[in-house]
């Protein structure tokens, strides 16, 4: 077979190596070429660990194939894979992403004993009464009174926050953080939001105005795109 284009191109940058893998070659071919290429250079013992970025182009690798590739690259060499980037994702993944990142608008009163749970961000038009509970994997926005429990970032997103027109919650939860209402009788606050303050390592309640400084990217979708 005549080779017109190399299946693997290696580029050195300041941060490490970038492996471009041709998207038109078969996977078997790539593995063989990769082994050949890597065998050509046996590393010295004192050589530092080099980080490698693999660019897959328009190729989709299954979990197993990714694993195979990783093993070959990291096996004999002092290489460490930093990232495997592909320009494509399966439709199923895209759909769950979309599902998890869309803003769900719900118009109801969440009454005592009721639980409202959504994927992605939640915009609730209505109150959360005492004993009621709202949960979302993204942010929670409440146009109404928050008197019950709100849990944002239920899948562990610490960037998530909770904003409400009127806030007098029994508890605020963000990711694995929990804060509760004080034991003394206190008035609620208007137009405020609960957010994790990394300095104090707890949930703090602050005016919505300060939110723009602390959270540049509000939507869960954009966060997801940035973080992969």
């Amino acid at each position: 077979m005549q080779e017109t284009k190399p299946t693997i191109t290696i580029k050195g940058t300041r941060d490490g190596l970038i492996l471009f893998i041709d998207e038109n070659s078969s996977f078997e071919e790539i593995l063989q070429d990769l082994i050949k290429k890597l065998d050509a250079s046996t590393p010295q013992k004192e050589e530092p660990v080099v980080s490698v970025k693999v660019k897959l182009g328009h190729r989709y690798l299954t979990e197993e194939q990714r694993h195979q590739l990783k093993e070959i690259i990291e096996d004999k060499n002092r290489f460490q894979i930093e990232a495997m980037e592909s320009d494509v994702i399966p439709i199923k993944d895209a759909k769950t992403w979309l599902d998890e990142s869309q803003l769900k608008v719900v118009n109801q009163i969440v009454r005592s004993g009721q639980v409202l749970e959504t994927k992605g961000d939640l915009l609730l038009i209505g109150d959360v009464n005492p004993g009621g509970r709202v949960r979302a994997s993204g942010n929670i926005y409440i146009m109404g009174n928050l008197l019950g429990i709100a849990h944002a970032g239920i899948e562990g997103d610490q960037e998530a926050f909770i904003a409400a027109s009127y806030m007098k919650p029994a508890q605020l939860r963000i990711a694995e953080y929990i804060s509760r209402a004080p034991d003394y009788e206190a008035d609620g606050v208007y137009m405020e939001c609960g957010i994790i303050d990394p300095d104090q390592n707890k949930i703090v309640i602050d005016s919505i105005k300060t939110l723009s400084k602390q959270r540049k990217v509000i939507s869960a979708f954009e966060r997801r795109m940035n973080n992969g």
Binding site: I109, R111, S112, Q114, D127, P130, G131
Partner: protein, 264 residues
């Protein structure tokens, strides 16, 4: 074709049974044919408050289990012909009644009566499910206390899931005006705002009510008391009339009136 209204609250002891008895009596006073159903199987009370305990021969469980006909179990009130009671069983428990059985009874009664008032047991279990099964609309009773309002909220959430014709309406019972004024009791406005349903009536806490209940005479029979007027107003609102909420101000005594007169 009549209408079935369930009186419920979630929490016990807020005055469901008293409310059922008095709304039923008030409606009957307005020449409506009314049937009261007690669904609190095992802990029946409605017959006691109505003063009809000694007339019970058959009960709702007998009807459902086919030991008697519905007509045989109905008790005519001793004061008016327009009011009947279907008593609960005292010996069985709540599982003796099914939602299907309830629906059947209610739809049969609807042929004959204008209003069927269903007195619901406390709690959200089978008894509650049975009571709301045949109802067209619901009235939720609460008192101005946090725990009772919390349970009312829970019940409203459950009722909203049922396919009733109308959203539930609210009665705030046992209001003590001076405590509400001092802020020691929840405010009517606060309760209505939290529960977000229409208010159909407010009833003051009244010692006369306890007396009346113990005598087996619903207070709404005697027009001299504030709480009796409250229930009559609620009945009128059920019939679709627009009646303003009554003031809960204490009646001033004769001397106080004179004092107030001279101050002006």
């Amino acid at each position: 074709m009549g209408e079935a209204i369930v009186i419920t609250s979630g929490k016990g002891g807020v005055g469901k049974t008293t409310t059922s008895a008095n709304i039923g009596t008030s409606l009957a006073l307005m020449d409506k044919k009314v049937c009261l159903i007690d669904t609190d199987i095992g802990l029946r009370n409605l017959d006691v408050i109505m003063g009809l305990e000694n007339r019970i021969i058959y009960d709702i469980v007998d009807v459902i289990q086919g030991r008697c006909k519905l007509q045989q179990a109905l008790i005519k009130d001793k004061r008016f012909d327009y009011l009947s009671l279907l008593p609960a069983a005292q010996t069985s428990d709540k599982s003796a009644v099914t939602t299907e059985g309830m629906k059947e009874i209610v739809s049969e009664l609807k042929q004959e009566y204008d209003y069927i008032i269903i007195d619901c047991p406390a709690g959200i279990e089978q008894g509650f499910q049975n009571a709301i099964a045949g109802a067209d609309r619901a009235i939720v009773v609460t008192t101005p206390e946090n725990s009772s309002v919390r349970d009312a909220d829970r019940i409203i959430g459950l009722i909203e899931k049922e396919d009733m014709i109308e959203p539930p309406r609210l009665i705030i019972n046992r209001i003590r005006n001076h405590m509400m004024k001092n802020g020691d009791m929840l405010d009517i406005d606060d309760i209505v705002q939290l529960l977000a349903i229409d208010l159909i009536g407010i009833v003051a806490d009244d010692e006369e009510m306890i007396k009346a209940s113990n005598k087996g005479e619903p207070i709404s029979l005697s027009p001299n008391f504030k709480s009796s007027i409250s229930y009559r107003n609620i009945a009128r609102r059920i019939l679709g009339e627009t009646v303003p909420l009554q003031s809960l101000e204490e009646e001033k005594g004769f001397m106080q009136k004179i004092k107030a007169f001279f101050k002006i």
